[in-house]
């Protein structure tokens, strides 16, 4: 997945971590609780089954004791021996006993298994009575207990002997396991109870069907048939406290998730905001705005980064200043070429027009003026001259004390370089006149200069050491220009600007010139055709 912002990424990671942990915890809790509930329920069901058994035993014990009291009755015993066929008397005696001890059913059986009397009408339950009497007869204490389904209800039955003092008959008493019985059992055990026989519900405490965990236990009836007791525990009821706890956990989990999200957003913001500020700052730097400083009031990595950015900006500003200085010290064109070529030492032969200008009588001037004023004056002069040259597209090659050397047609080719040089020279003359007027107004002496111009093929390139380079031109043609400038001091020429024949030939414009003939210049065998340039034609 790709995120467009750091905040979104951090948020996703934190939410995934915290949410995952919460979900895992919730799942574990739910699993453990379910297992616990299952265990508890099965324990409760077992307990309820035991309780059922205990209740039955208690009921049977009670029956046995009360029946014992009845069978101990001398008059009662006598009926069996003296008038066993008097069923009406027997039944009434049983009814009397029923009133006394409150069993739900009582019956007496002869030793051969005939029902002599019982306290109920309806279909005979003799099959259970007989089986119980038989079981009692073979038991060591002459008693037996079992179950029977009588009149659509489950009965717990107990058989006991009637002794006179030999066993003369069997008495069977039963308790109906009715709605009240199961309701009481549910109250003490918390477990729902259903009694069933052949799939038919005899009695149940279940009011409405629900998700139950149940245990079914068989109840052996006296006649060999089977009824069953179903003990059930409502799953939802058991898990209700667990569900509450899980809800609470979910709320706590959700809150902590929200808190984590807030924290994540906060952290992300505390990181992304300065990062964005740094990005913005970088944009400014990229646009060349080095004056800005970024302020992050923090001691961490971002704080250090901001400091580094500020240093970088300072460094860039420094480099720019150097570039600026370079531009001032060399011409912008040279500087640009230097930047382009990486300052490679190179060389090429090309035709250029070289212009030399030199202040006259500067030496005497320098003796008269204090150095500061001298430099100021010199700069003022060079500034005007440079302006005139640059106006014509010339490149100041170098200042040599009170002199300057300018190139036309190098380092970049230009149209009509000779004309440009001539126009520049005339403009310089005019500029000097202007400067002199200013100087006169300031009460300072006027300045005078001479200009020599020559056009020739020269070698151009970056010259110097690896550490310090100058773009310049060398060759005879350069010397010629310098010599022509020097010749302007010759009084008889009455000229400020001297140009060579080659320059005038290269020029297309019209100028007022005077041919001065062939002049032998210093250091050159061949004479130069020199012309004074006095103005535009």
């Amino acid at each position: 997945m790709r995120f467009r912002s750091f905040r979104a990424r951090l948020l996703a990671v934190i939410l995934a971590l915290v949410g995952g942990a919460q979900l895992a915890a919730l799942a574990i809790v739910a699993t453990v609780h379910n297992a616990n509930a299952r265990r508890e329920i099965s324990h409760d069901l077992d307990e309820a089954a035991r309780q059922f058994q205990k209740e039955i035993e208690r009921g049977n014990g009670y029956l046995a004791r009360t029946v014992g009291a009845l069978t101990g009755d001398y008059a009662f015993k006598q009926i069996f021996v003296l008038s066993p066929d008097d069923r009406a008397t027997l039944r009434s005696a049983l009814e009397s006993f029923k009133l006394r001890a409150q069993p739900d059913v009582v019956a007496v059986l002869s030793l051969d298994g005939q029902t002599l009397a019982e306290t109920r009408d309806g279909p005979s339950a003799a099959v259970y009575y007989r089986a119980l009497a038989k079981a009692a007869d073979t038991s060591p204490n002459l008693r037996a207990t079992s179950y029977g389904v009588i009149d659509g209800a489950l009965f717990s039955l107990t058989a006991a002997p009637i002794r006179a003092p030999d066993v003369v008959a069997w008495i069977i008493a039963g308790i109906r396991l009715d709605r009240k019985f199961v309701a009481d059992l549910k109250e003490t055990s918390g477990v729902d109870i259903t009694l069933r026989h052949h799939g038919q519900t005899l009695v149940t405490t279940v009011r409405q069907p629900a998700d139950f965990l149940s245990v079914t236990q068989p109840l052996a009836l006296a006649d060999g048939d089977t009824a069953e007791i179903v003990l059930q525990y409502s799953w939802d009821e058991k898990l209700a406290p667990t569900r509450r706890l899980e809800r609470l956990l979910a709320i706590v989990g959700g809150s902590s998730l929200a808190l984590a999200a807030l924290l994540a957003v906060g952290i992300a913001r505390s990181i992304s905001q300065p990062v964005r500020a740094l990005a913005e700052f970088t944009e400014h730097v990229a646009r060349g705005d080095y004056a800005r400083r970024i302020v992050l009031d923090r001691a961490d990595e971002l704080g250090r980064l901001a400091t580094a950015f500020n240093r970088m900006s300072e460094g860039l500003a420094e480099r720019d200043r150097i570039r600026d200085l370079l531009d001032k010290n060399v011409s912008p064109e040279v500087a640009a070429q230097l930047m382009r070529d990486g300052g490679a030492l190179g060389g090429e032969e090309r035709e250029v027009t070289v212009l030399f200008a030199d202040l006259r009588s500067f030496t005497s001037l320098s003796e008269r003026l204090p150095p500061r004023e001298l430099v100021a004056l010199l700069n003022r002069f060079l500034d005007r001259m440079s302006a005139a040259i640059e106006h014509e597209g010339g490149v100041i090659d170098k200042y040599i004390g009170d002199a300057l050397m300018a190139l036309f047609g190098a380092p970049v080719s230009q149209s009509e370089p000779a004309d440009r040089a001539l126009r520049a020279a005339l403009a310089m003359q005019a500029a000097l006149a202007g400067l002199n007027r200013e100087l006169a107004a300031e009460g300072q002496p006027a300045l005078a200069f001479g200009i020599g111009i020559n056009t020739a093929r020269v070698v151009a390139g970056n010259m110097g050491s690896r550490r310090r380079l100058n773009y310049s031109v060398v060759g005879d043609g350069v010397n010629v220009a310098a010599r022509l400038e020097a010749l302007t001091r010759t009084p008889e020429y009455r000229a400020t600007i001297l140009a060579s024949e080659a320059t005038l030939r290269a020029a297309q414009g019209h100028y007022v010139t005077r041919a001065l003939g062939s002049i032998v210049v210093k250091g050159r065998a061949e004479p130069v055709q020199a012309h004074a340039v006095d103005g535009f034609a």
């Binding site: 208690r58 014990g61 101990g72 001398y74 015993k77 006598q78 021996v81 003296l82 060591p140 204490n141 002459l142 002794r163 006179a164 003092p165 030999d166 003369v168």
Partner: protein, 216 residues
């Protein structure tokens, strides 16, 4: 005079011995070959009518002692009278609902006012109306040849004329009947080993702790 009478008496005795010479040892054992006490064995002559015999002139006694009947089993000849003296400090109400003799002696201490004569053969079960655990048996027999087994399981029946006899044995817990024909010739026959199949003893236990009250 006394000197004369004594040999005469001895002579008479000897004559009786000569007439009725046989004595049968009936040894009662249960299925685990444990000797069984309180069994009653009797012999009835097969070929001759029942021997003429008269019940004892004095009543036989069945006491109540320590809130039990003693003896537990009493064989008697038909027509015998039994007295039920009470040797306890508490009263008893002795009764029988058995067919051969139904009677009831209302609560009494010491000697009962009346004795009971048993004139029908059969087994009479005695009970005490106020002490459920008290049980005793009277076996009323038509023959004078009977005896009850002691702790060693042996019932010794003597004075038997030679002849064929039906031997019968009864016990309160006996399942079924035990009959056997034996012949008494001259001299004592070999002991009769009688195997009795007994039902479990299901008398009401008297121990008060076992039947006491309290919560159960």
């Amino acid at each position: 005079m006394k000197r004369l009478i004594l040999p005469l008496a001895l002579l008479l005795l000897g004559a009786r011995v000569a007439v009725a010479s046989g004595t049968v040892q009936v040894v009662c054992e249960d299925e685990k070959h444990q000797r069984v006490a309180d069994a009653v064995a009797w012999l009835s002559q097969v070929d001759a009518p029942p021997a003429k015999a008269s019940p004892p002139a004095e009543p036989v006694t069945i006491e109540q002692r320590g809130q039990e009947f003693a003896p537990y089993v009493t064989p008697i000849l038909v027509g015998t009278t039994i007295a039920f003296p009470n040797r306890d400090s508490v009263q008893h109400q002795v009764y029988s609902l058995s067919k051969p003799k139904r009677f009831e002696l209302p609560l009494y201490s010491g000697n009962a006012r009346e004795t009971v004569t048993f004139d029908q053969p059969g087994v009479v079960t005695l009970g005490c109306n106020i002490h459920d655990w008290m049980v005793a048996y009277i076996v009323v027999l038509a023959t004078p040849h009977f005896a009850a087994s002691g702790a060693d399981g042996t019932a010794s029946i003597g004075g038997l004329p030679a002849g064929r006899y039906q031997l019968e044995v009864w016990h309160p817990r006996l399942a079924g009947q035990v009959q056997r024909e034996i012949v008494i010739a001259s001299g004592d026959p070999a002991p009769q080993i009688i195997l009795l199949t007994l039902k479990p003893d299901r008398r009401i236990r008297r121990a008060p702790d076992a039947s006491g009250g309290g919560y159960r």
